[in-house]
């Protein structure tokens, strides 16, 4: 296991593609791992205290990581535990393994992820499991669970996998999604625009775009794109 702790409060964003892979590396190598502090390329040890305990493929991030971007980017296995908040793009392009965030997550959580699991104990912001601007496919596999609330744009262009939000969410849920499942236990705003397939389940109140047809167990649409997406109440 590798413990990583910020040395200071960061005044600008840090871009650090920290994955469990680091925990398997020699500690001296880990200290020299390159990250960006603003526009400066620096060694990991200049910004963080690092400490190795055993050989488990686990990263333990202690402290405030809310200005640290790209944690868990493209990770394939192992585990990251974040005992605090985390910055944008956490778990982006993730293929496997597990990320547990004990605080809040920022935007772009699990963007375009294809496998693995992300658990957020607090809240998440916007663009959970979305496609990056312009890309055709968002989250295609794996699971994201958010215990608290989430922002807008959830699972845009999602083509597989599962997103579960135990609190409320904002607008634009499952826009252009083609497969997979989004579950929201609380309330949310507009749902299902240009939805082609997949399923959205909602526990609380929500607003439906007008291009959905009522069926026995919910709604089907978006008819504007000949979609077969399903929206159900929990």
């Amino acid at each position: 296991m590798l413990k990583i702790k910020p040395k200071t409060d960061f005044v600008v964003n840090v871009e650090a593609e920290l994955t469990p892979e680091l925990a398997t590396m020699d500690i001296e190598e880990v200290k020299k791992f390159q990250v960006f502090y603003g526009k400066l390329k620096v060694a990991l040890e200049e910004l963080f205290e690092v400490e190795k305990e055993g050989d488990d493929k686990v990263l333990l991030l202690e402290g405030d990581f809310s200005r640290v971007k790209w944690i868990g980017k493209e990770m394939e296995d192992g585990e990251i535990i974040i005992k605090g908040n985390v910055g944008v793009h956490c778990g982006a392009y993730m293929k496997g393994g597990r990320i547990v965030i004990e605080g809040d997550a920022d935007d772009w959580l699990g963007a375009e992820m294809s496998g693995g699991e992300i658990i957020v104990k607090g809240n998440a912001k916007n663009c959970v499991g979305c496609a990056y601007w312009g890309n055709l496919v968002g989250m295609s596999g794996g699971k994201i669970v958010i215990e608290g609330n989430a922002g807008s744009y959830i699972g845009e262009k999602m083509s597989g996998g599962e997103i579960e939000i135990k609190g409320n969410a904002g607008d634009f849920i499952g826009t252009e999604m083609s497969a997979g499942v989004i579950t929201i236990h609380g309330d949310c705003g507009f749902v299902g625009g240009e939805m082609k397939g997949g399923e959205i389940r909602i526990g609380g109140n929500f607003e439906l775009v007008p291009s959905f047809k009522k069926v026995e167990d919910g709604f089907v649409g978006d008819v504007n794109v000949g979609g077969q997406g399903k929206i159900k109440t929990l």
Binding site: Y132, W133, G134, N135
Partner: protein, 568 residues
């Protein structure tokens, strides 16, 4: 900045001047190629080109490198800009996968030994935008062709068969837009699109005007020839991208059979690959390249460019709005449509060409058929950037044209439908190095009427590319990987006598010229009242329409047959 250069011991191929792989020295002074006697050798910077190929800089006569369309394409496709090509150092940072930023365009051309590129479709209303953007493209010399084929005033003069007024109007447009020649895109079709329609043959009537595509093309060709512009009419045919359209293309070529010009072609038909399909639907599409090649080779007054497909990402962007809509419906990708008031329209749709897609594989093969079957002095390499692929793939296309073995290797990965739908598998032709230099330098320069481009004779612009290829030992049919690599990484690219690229690496920033054809003296009073009348329907005043020469970084006027720089 302009040194005298002595390029020593290179093996020169200069087809225009009949030089076939001869070891010789070349001298450069004040940005021009000069005779040995004109330079003081001890003051020359010496470039050792021993065992290297020395040729003129490449000329791309059709690449959408500036203007409203590529900018809208960039806005619509943020995903294209996640690829960093170079980070800022003494030069500018560049990004882009196949859609490139302006500095990337100039640098990437230089990194292939290309030194001239033409923006071939500028809505006149947005000419200022085009020039601002051309001014942001480093290295290359450039020019823009304004669009005429769907302009209401052109319809009016064509309907009245008033060639005198049409000539005056063309002269006025070229002066206002600082344009270089006449571009036509789907004549009549873009106007019909205003009514959610298209024209489907040369004899369909354009809605609202008593005129047909045939009239529009013929009138503009007549006017072009009477004005004796350096470039011919540059035509994107009707029915582009429609199976069976090779017949329309042939019919269009035959329209001008009675015209001739000693210096150049009468009609340049562009990205012919998209206009060379047989069949009645996408299910039975085939190649009409054979028929087109036969006609082009025998006619003598037609030239074409390939519009070669490159497998992978591309962005289609043309003034052909109805075609773009059809494509949007076909590929289900995002789409932009734009109406340009009384002049033209445009559309943009991203696309991915896949080798395993039967239609894409046929398209890929047709481009190569055209490049292999048509005489090298009548066809030039293009990808209709960014429509059929990136221009950065020219080295790949050049290698394909030179090696049957490489084509066979590529065909193994492509869909087998091309085997029966095209003749590519049975074509044994392998272009020689000299023919490739002809097709990428001499032919496009001649088509454009740029006498100082595309060759290394005395007085030519000192746009020179030196490649690490020895014509004496090269075996193109087997060395295709070497050819592709060498054409994509010149030992030197020299622009107007300045070394821009050395060993494939950019050395400095350089700003090329923007050519425009000055026919101010051909603008007559006769069109004044028509212009005033038409400007009642524009969103801007006539006094605000157009581009002043002083707004352009390095304008270079072309008047009649004479070339001079604005500062001369």
């Amino acid at each position: 900045m302009h040194h005298m250069l002595h390029i020593k011991n290179g093996i020169v191929i200069d087809p225009k001047n009949g030089i076939k792989a001869e070891k010789m020295d070349i001298f450069v002074k004040d940005g021009k190629i000069v005779d040995e006697s004109e330079v003081n050798k001890s003051d020359c910077k010496v470039i050792d080109a021993s065992n290297k190929l020395v040729v003129a800089g490449g000329v791309d006569l059709h690449a959408h490198i500036a203007g409203g369309k590529i900018t809208m394409g960039r806005i619509m496709r943020p995903e294209e800009f996640r690829i960093v090509r170079s980070t800022a150092n003494k030069l500018r940072a560049t990004v882009g996968r196949t859609l490139l930023t302006s500095p990337a365009i100039g640098y990437e051309y230089a990194k292939m030994g290309y030194t001239t590129a033409i923006e071939p479709a500028t809505p006149s209303l947005f000419a200022l935008h085009t020039h601002e953007e051309l001014d942001s493209i480093p290295v290359v010399d450039k020019a823009a062709l304004p669009l005429f084929g769907n302009w209401h005033l052109v319809f009016k003069y064509a309907a009245e068969n008033d060639i005198e007024k049409l000539k005056s109007f063309i002269a006025w447009v070229l002066e206002r837009t600082k344009g270089y020649g006449i571009k036509i895109v789907n004549p009549g079709g873009v106007e019909a699109w205003m009514y959610a329609d298209n024209v489907h043959s040369l004899d369909d009537t354009v809605p609202g005007f008593d005129v047909t595509p045939r009239d529009v093309i013929l009138s503009l060709v007549k006017a072009n020839e009477e004005l004796n512009l350096p470039h011919s009419v540059h035509l994107h045919c009707n029915n582009l991208g429609v199976p069976g359209n090779y017949e329309t293309t042939l019919e269009t070529m035959k329209l001008v059979s009675s015209f001739s010009n000693d210096k150049r072609q009468i009609l340049h038909i562009t990205h012919v690959q998209f206009n060379a399909y047989t069949g009645s639907s996408w299910k039975d599409i085939g190649s009409g390249a054979d028929e087109i090649a036969k006609y082009v080779n025998s006619a003598g007054n037609i030239t074409i460019d390939m519009g070669q497909i490159v497998f992978g990402h591309a962005t289609t962007m043309t003034a052909d709005s109805p075609f773009q809509f059809a494509l949007h419906r076909l590929v289900h990708m995002k789409w932009i449509n734009k109406d340009v008031e009384l002049e033209t329209g445009s559309g943009i749709v991203p696309i991915v060409y896949r080798p395993k897609n039967p239609v894409n594989s046929v398209q890929w093969a047709i481009g190569l058929e055209l490049g292999l079957l048509i005489d090298p002095d009548k066809v030039t390499v293009s990808t209709d950037y960014p429509n059929a692929g990136p221009f950065t793939s020219y080295p790949y296309i050049m290698a394909l044209l030179m090696s049957k073995k490489m084509r066979e290797k590529e065909m193994e990965n492509a869909h087998s439908y091309l085997q029966k739908a095209t003749n590519l598998p049975s074509i044994d032709t392998e272009r020689t190095l000299e023919e490739i230099i002809q097709m990428t330098r001499v032919t496009p320069a001649r088509i454009l009427g740029m006498e100082n481009k595309g060759h290394l004779g005395i007085g030519a612009d000192a746009d020179i590319a030196i490649f690490d290829l020895n014509p004496e030992t090269l075996d193109p049919s087997n060395d295709y990987e070497l050819i592709q690599k060498a054409f994509g990484s010149p030992a030197y690219t020299i622009k107007s006598g300045v070394v821009i690229v050395k060993d494939g690496v950019l050395q400095c920033e350089y700003w090329g010229r923007t050519f425009w054809v000055d026919l101010k003296d051909k603008v007559t009073e006769s069109i004044e009242s028509d212009l005033d009348e038409y400007f009642n329907y524009y969103t801007i005043e006539r006094s605000n329409y157009g581009v002043e020469e002083r707004w352009i970084r390095n304008p270079a006027r072309v008047g009649g047959a004479r070339w001079y720089n604005a500062e001369d």
